[in-house]
């Protein structure tokens, strides 16, 4: 199995993303799968950002701490990442004399930490020093004269260097591709596919040509024939596509990282084709995307839209969800099917706005004063994010209650190359629940045997809603007997959901073994990929990936965890929140924990090492700290 890791770094706003995208596209054309994580600061321009990719002949779901090829343009990336690279470093020859102390964009704590390390290994804090250190460790150094190549391209095209300075990124992709042993035609195809402006296509092709020869093939990758199509997806796009497929017709949002890209994507695709599945007759219909003044308005506008019958959702991150809690309670009280996509980032407060986290699980479970049913689901990869977005609407409408769909930032911003066939949702059906168009009088909150009232849309009947306790007609009632019954009616819907939704669909199980690993969200990928590697070390594990937390699949989880010699809980938070839900639902406590809260994704390398530590030393709590 091919598994090569590639990292590119540089200041934000310099095109690092483009570089990684073009490179990834070229690799996909050559038949390879990619999983790439994007790290960046809360900053528009100038701070350090990087992409960490794994290239494989099999679908990948995680990144690694061990980097084969590190591509740099400037000095900061070298200083930030030289300890991770093993095989090749591309660097800008003009920067050899750069001192660590002259880099203003690097955070003080980071600079001090790097300086202390260099001092401990007797290396001067300069690029030259670091290069020497790497040479001593067997890393091959490839100087790239970016400026010279750019000047040559500029001259040939009779343009200024400034105009084509972004072709620097293509130079990096070209040299990398050559190193891997792949034909430059893939890069040319990727460039033609991604850039619309002829001038840039030409400049990039020229730059690629000039750079391609700078390295010698070292990894011997061969073209792999691809059957069917493959797509490049990030988590925000996956959710947006799922929502569109699932029939979202109203999406409201307030700008927030890392959620907004989803709404922007829906807006960019707001005119969609509605195709009759029988006659194939197609017509254009529209989705309303409303950018509101705050998250209070975002959720409440969506609730309003849902009352009229439109599938409605909003998406946000922690700080925004804090504001949405008020509206969520109203939706719970009024049995409104609204979907909230909750992208978790580093918290509390603004926290680490552009980094990841999984510390909002219990918050979403308990959001809102009082008690009301809410369904909470969490996606573990891009395909799940896509399908869960559809599922969320079905759950919301069937049980007439808000659904919170958790996606962590790692997943939102990571991108992967996946087989298009994985996005096949033709077996999924729309479940709109109990919808009626009443003839005569109508009671929105009518008591029924299954606790779910027939739902009419505003426009088709006269009905009343209120956040106060209410009677069947939706009018305020503080009557004790009514209160007991209406309260129970709402709560019982969750019991119904618990009965109806197969527990098998609320979690995934992978592998077999005496050791169980519990996780959820993006760490799923790291655990799955590490399991492959751990098998070679003689450790077999069973992964239980939790996908629905409310209602919790307690019977199945109990059954799966019974008799395991070890139960390891893996999460991107401090307090092991999912584990506490497992314990409260099943009475079973994990025996060991692997936790990480530095805002960076869990890597498969970390899981592999942590599991080994646990197996060898039975360490209770392994804390991870990888990632710059």
């Amino acid at each position: 199995m091919v598994k090569i890791t590639w990292m590119i770094g540089g200041p934000q706003g310099s095109g690092v993303d483009t570089s990684a995208t073009v490179f990834g596209n070229a690799l996909a054309r050559a038949g390879y799968y990619i999983y790439g994580n994007r790290e960046y600061h809360s900053n528009i321009e100038g701070r350090h950002s990087y992409f960490n990719l794994t290239i494989s002949d099999k679908p990948m779901h995680s990144i690694s701490d061990d980097i084969n090829i590190l591509v740099t343009f400037e000095a900061e990336t070298i200083f930030q990442h030289f300890r991770e690279v093993h095989d090749y470093l591309f660097y800008n020859k003009a920067l050899e004399s750069t001192k660590l102390s002259t880099i203003n964009s690097i955070e003080r704590e980071t600079a001090e930490e790097i300086e202390a390390f260099l001092e401990s290994v007797n290396v001067p804090p300069t690029v030259e020093g670091v290069l020497g250190y790497l040479r001593g460790r067997g890393v091959k150094l490839i100087p790239v004269e970016y400026d010279k190549i750019l000047m040559a391209v500029a001259e040939e095209m009779k343009l200024s260097v400034a105009t084509i300075s972004r072709s620097r990124n293509i130079i990096a992709a070209a040299v990398s591709l050559r190193l891997l042993g792949l034909d430059k035609k893939y890069l040319a195809e990727a460039i033609r596919g991604l850039f619309k402006n002829d001038l840039f296509v030409k400049a990039n092709l020229l730059a690629a040509d000039k750079a391609y020869g700078l390295a010698e093939p070292a990894y011997g990758l061969k073209e792999i024939p691809v059957s069917g199509h493959r797509v490049q997806l990030d988590g925000n796009t996956a959710v947006a596509m799922g929502k569109i497929a699932g029939g979202v017709r109203f999406q409201s949002y307030y700008p927030i990282t890392p959620a907004s890209d989803e709404s922007v994507f829906i807006e960019a695709n707001q005119v969609v084709d509605a195709v009759d599945p029988d006659t194939k007759e197609s017509r254009k219909v529209g989705i309303v995307v409303l950018q509101t003044e705050d998250e209070l308005a975002a959720i409440n506008a969506s609730i309003g839209a849902a009352l009229t019958g439109a599938r409605a959702s909003t998406s946000t991150s922690g700080p925004g969800f804090s504001l949405m809690v008020e509206g969520l309670g109203w939706a719970g009280m009024n049995e409104v099917p609204v979907v909230v996509t909750y992208y978790m980032r580093g918290a509390p407060s603004t926290g680490l706005p552009t980094r990841s986290g999984q510390a909002d699980l219990l918050f979403s479970m308990h959001a809102g004063h009082g008690e009301f049913p809410k369904i909470v689901i969490a996606s573990g990869d891009h395909v799940e994010a896509f399908k869960d977005a559809i599922w969320a609407f079905n759950l919301a409408e069937r049980y007439q209650t808000p659904v919170i769909h958790l996606v962590d930032k790692s997943l939102a911003n990571a991108y992967s190359i996946i087989d298009e066939s994985e996005l096949d949702y033709s077996s999924m059906r729309a479940d709109r629940g109990k919808i009626v168009i009443p003839d005569g009088s109508y009671k929105r909150f009518q008591f029924t045997d299954d606790y779910i009232s027939p739902r009419a849309f505003i426009g088709n009947a006269v009905m009343h809603y209120t956040g106060d306790e209410h009677n069947e007609e939706g009018h305020i009632s503080e009557n004790s007997a009514n209160r007991i019954k209406m309260y129970e009616k709402r709560m019982k819907k969750l019991e119904l959901a618990d009965k109806e939704i197969p527990e098998e669909s609320r979690l995934n199980v992978f592998g077999e073994g005496d050791v169980a690993v519990i996780t959820w969200g993006s760490p799923k990928g790291a655990v799955m990929d590490a399991m492959e590697e751990l098998k070679q070390d003689g450790i077999s594990m069973q992964l239980i990936q939790l996908r629905m937390f409310n209602p919790f699949p307690r019977n199945l989880v109990t059954k799966l965890l019974k008799g395991k010699s070890k139960i390891i809980d893996v999460e991107n938070n401090y307090t092991a929140q999912a584990a506490s839900l497992v314990a409260s639902s099943t009475g079973i406590q994990p025996t060991n924990y692997i936790l990480k809260w530095n805002g960076r994704p869990i890597t498969r390398t970390e899981i592999r090492n942590a599991v080994k530590t646990i197996m060898e030393k039975d360490e209770k709590r392994v804390i991870l700290s990888g990632g710059q």
Binding site: G24, R29, G31, A190, V226, R230, Q232, L233, T237, M241, I244, A245, G246, G247, R249, F250, S252, N269, V271, V272, D273, A274, V275, D276, D278, S282, K284, G286, V288, L290, T292, E293, L296, A297, N300, A301, G304, A305, A306, L307, T308, G309, A310, A312, I417, M428, R429, A430, D431, R432, I458, G459, N460, V462, M463, H464, T466, G467, H475, I476
Partner: protein, 308 residues
């Protein structure tokens, strides 16, 4: 959707109206029911969206769709309702504390969108339901009976705020002049675009300063006043006059329509410009599935994401 006049009884619910005797809300309720009846609005397609406080209960007293929402947020709910189904007639009822205090951000922001809804502010200067604290329209220095000290904050002028925010219909009326209130509400509902009706309303229980007697002496109707903008060149003049007139307060308090401009595209028009089928086939009316099978094609979107 306007039809012929309908019997007002049809617009009353069975709920007991639990406001204090003499409350200005009764005038607003009557005026609103009369306006709906005279406009012949279909109860199924009419929605009252209210906030929290005494005013919020009005959603339960009018026999059209009633959505009694959260404190300050009625406008946000109303925006979602209206944009998902523009065929609905959407009316917001909120108190001055509700709409100009906790909900003032939404009050301003909806102005930028000119959503075709009507916002009726029950303006009594106090938070009645919590026993009479000072609300945003109570002037500084005024000591209503529940206040331990005179009000320390300056008052918001709802009309000026609406003009500044982009409301295309700005009016003030008086709860005890039911006929005027009814006509103003009718004009607001009929107006194409976002309308504010600020209703001066005594609170007989907690506002012992701005009483019926106090208002009766001061209120006068705008006369020889043409608020309607007929061409773009009139905007500056009419909005400036409206601004100055709306500042008049004290011995004389004008009521009436201060400003109206239907030339500004509504938010619905703006959406229609992007999505040509929007008004004919809005979100709420679309079938998203056929017998469970999804109809929205993402084929082209997926194709755009293809790398091989």
């Amino acid at each position: 959707m306007a039809a012929s006049k309908i019997d007002i009884k049809l617009y009353k619910t069975q709920e007991w109206v639990d406001w204090c005797p003499g409350c200005g809300n009764f005038g607003i309720l009557n005026a609103e029911q009369m306006a709906l009846a005279e406009l012949g609005l279909d109860p199924k397609r009419t929605v009252i969206v209210s906030g929290i406080g005494c005013s919020g209960k009005i959603a339960h007293f009018i026999n059209v769709n009633g959505v009694h929402t959260l404190h300050g947020r009625a406008v946000a709910f109303a925006t979602g309702i209206k944009l998902a189904n523009p065929e609905l007639e959407v009316i917001v009822n909120a108190g001055d504390g509700d709409q100009l205090g906790i909900g003032v951000g939404h009050f301003v922001s909806v102005g930028r969108r000119n959503v075709d809804i009507t916002v009726i502010v029950h303006d009594n200067g106090v938070y009645g339901l919590t026993k009479g604290q000072a609300a945003p329209t109570l002037p500084r220095g005024v000591k209503t009976k529940a206040l331990p000290e005179p009000n320390i904050n300056d008052a918001i002028n709802p009309l000026l705020l609406a003009l500044a925010s982009g409301y295309t219909f700005v009016a003030r009326t008086y709860a005890y002049d039911v006929k005027h209130a009814k006509e103003t509400i009718k004009a607001a509902i009929t107006h194409k675009g976002l309308a504010l009706v600020d209703v001066l309303q005594p609170c007989p229980t907690y506002n012992n300063i701005n009483t019926k007697e106090w208002y009766d002496k001061r209120i006068y109707k705008l006369e020889n006043w043409d608020p309607v903008v007929k061409s773009e060149s009139e905007i500056e003049d009419k909005i400036t006059k409206a601004y100055l007139k709306a500042r008049e307060w004290g011995d004389k308090i004008p009521i009436g329509i201060f400003y109206q401009n239907e030339a500004v595209p509504t938010y619905e028009d703006r959406v229609e410009e992007r999505v040509s089928t929007y008004l004919k086939n809005p979100p709420a009316k679309q079938e998203i599935d056929k017998n469970g099978r999804f109809v929205t094609s993402i084929e082209n979107i997926v194709k755009n994401k293809r790398v091989v």
